[in-house]
């Protein structure tokens, strides 16, 4: 059963992705602009909004992966059981990949919708900073030697706590006039999505959940195998069996 988990999840994700692609392009309505000026000029329909189904799908599980990593890091520091550290490391690797997708799709969407590749807009800024913390985690794991697992766990926990500050800092939910220079109303907030788009959105979120779990499980298997190999080699050296 365990051996089937990854292929099964991957197949589910593939099916879900295929169906959601169909739904996105043939079923979900086009987003209308709420901007009166744009409507006056005739460009009231946004085809580029359809990227949100993949962008939000990945963003959901980016935050999920960061959460999993942070909680596993806390469990690792408390219990010192290396299996928790495997999960934290694997989840962060997957989070880096998902984060890259979120930033890339966000950038593509920004160029299509706002005609700039980047804007210091709340969600983009927050995603970028979070991604930088995650990349730092990966670098520490790779280059910090034997105590890397401890240091990286500390980073993951601090990263989890920094995120709310970044959220406030970029002015979301904050009405102070100087708090968020350059803040623009953003599109595609889940709550504001019109009902016709919801099936496609939730299906894509569910498919990317299957994808995230499949990636996580296979990455955990690989991390665990690396760690066990490393421990076996050290024991071999200690015993004099290896040189």
């Amino acid at each position: 059963m365990k051996k089937l988990a990854v292929p099964l999840l991957a197949v589910l994700a593939a099916i879900g992705l295929a169906v959601s692609v169909y739904l996105v392009f043939y079923d979900a309505p086009l987003e209308y602009s709420r901007n009166a000026e744009l409507q006056l000029n005739g460009s009231s329909l946004f085809f580029n909004q359809k990227i949100v189904y993949f962008h939000v799908g990945h963003a959901f599980w980016l935050f999920g992966a960061v959460f999993v990593s942070g909680l596993s890091s806390i469990a690792f520091l408390k219990t010192r059981n290396p299996r928790w550290d495997d999960i934290a490391s694997a989840s962060t690797d997957v989070a880096v990949a998902f984060g890259a997708v979120v930033l890339f799709t966000g950038s593509v969407w920004a160029k299509a919708a706002w005609d700039v590749w980047w804007k210091w807009e709340p969600r983009l800024t927050m995603s970028l900073l979070l991604w930088l913390i995650l990349v730092g985690y990966v670098l520490v794991r790779r280059f910090a030697g034997p105590s890397a697992d401890r240091i990286a766990s500390g980073m993951a926990i601090f990263g989890m706590v920094v995120v709310p500050f970044v959220y406030v800092m970029v002015g979301e939910g904050n009405s102070h006039p100087q708090a968020a220079p350059g803040l623009n109303p953003s599109e595609g907030v889940v709550g504001k999505i019109s009902p016709g788009m919801r099936p496609a959105l939730w299906l894509s979120v569910a498919s990317f959940l299957c994808w995230y779990v499949a990636l996580l499980i296979s990455r955990v298997q690989s991390t665990r195998a690396e760690r066990e190999l490393r421990e076996l080699r050290e024991r071999g050296f200690d015993l004099g069996v290896l040189s």
Binding site: L77, L129, A144, I151, G159, F165
Partner: protein, 226 residues
């Protein structure tokens, strides 16, 4: 409280070594001063354009000098192998951490004391227009850098690439601190100063510092074993 007394003693040990040798504070201060001079050359001669960049210059100088100071403070412990002595001492580990953080705060503030007047002098910026908020924001920023930096500098003590890993770990976590510091400073330095915004960001910094002080206190024992 005994904990604070022990922490003060650890901090005073570091600061007394500093006062006698002045090794870290001279190098950090000179480095900060050099940075200010480089910034003066790096930006165009138009005074108005440069004035907007002054808060950023101040905080970049504080950030870089803070990282150097953190590295040096813990390097000294490692070189003389006194870290083990500190950890074996009959004081709670937390007192050691707090003492190191206090000493680092003082060193970072020493750099700020050098850089801010240099910036005001060389670039003709009204940095000291509102000395109260300025002092407060710089002190809170130094405390934040020192606290989070001490946790990770202590953790990285025996790691090979610690010099480059410390900034890699520290800067993303410190971004809210730098944004708050620069926003508050620029609100004070602007042509039409906005003191409400300056105080908002100072409050933000206060909450950020408190949250990370508490988190560091919780997590320090687990992260720093040897």
């Amino acid at each position: 409280m005994a904990l604070l007394r022990h922490a003060a003693r650890v901090a005073w040990k570091d600061l007394r070594i500093e006062l006698r040798s002045r090794e870290i504070v001279y190098t950090m201060a000179f480095f900060g001063g050099l940075l200010v001079v480089i910034f003066s050359f790096a930006f165009p001669r138009d005074v108005r354009a440069v004035r907007g960049a002054v808060p950023g210059m101040l905080w970049v100088a504080i950030a870089l000098a803070g990282t150097i100071g953190l590295g040096r403070a813990f390097d000294r412990e490692r070189e003389n192998d006194t870290m083990r002595a500190l950890l074996l001492a009959p004081v709670p580990r937390l007192a050691v951490f707090l003492g190191k953080a206090i000493a680092t705060t003082v060193l970072v503030l020493a750099v700020a004391v050098v850089c801010a007047p240099m910036l005001a002098w060389l670039l003709d910026a009204p940095l000291f227009a509102y000395p109260g908020p300025l002092v407060l924001v710089v002190v809170l920023g130094a405390v934040g850098i020192a606290v989070i930096g001490s946790v990770f500098a202590a953790t990285l003590l025996k790691v090979r690439s610690r010099d480059v890993l410390l900034p890699v770990i520290l800067y993303p976590l410190l971004v809210p601190l730098f944004v708050a510091g620069t926003s508050s400073t620029s609100a004070q330095v602007a042509e039409f100063p906005n003191l409400d915004a300056a105080w908002y960001w100072i409050e933000f910094l206060g909450i950020y510092d408190s949250a990370f002080l508490v988190l560091s206190v919780w997590v320090f024992e687990s992260l720093v074993i040897e």
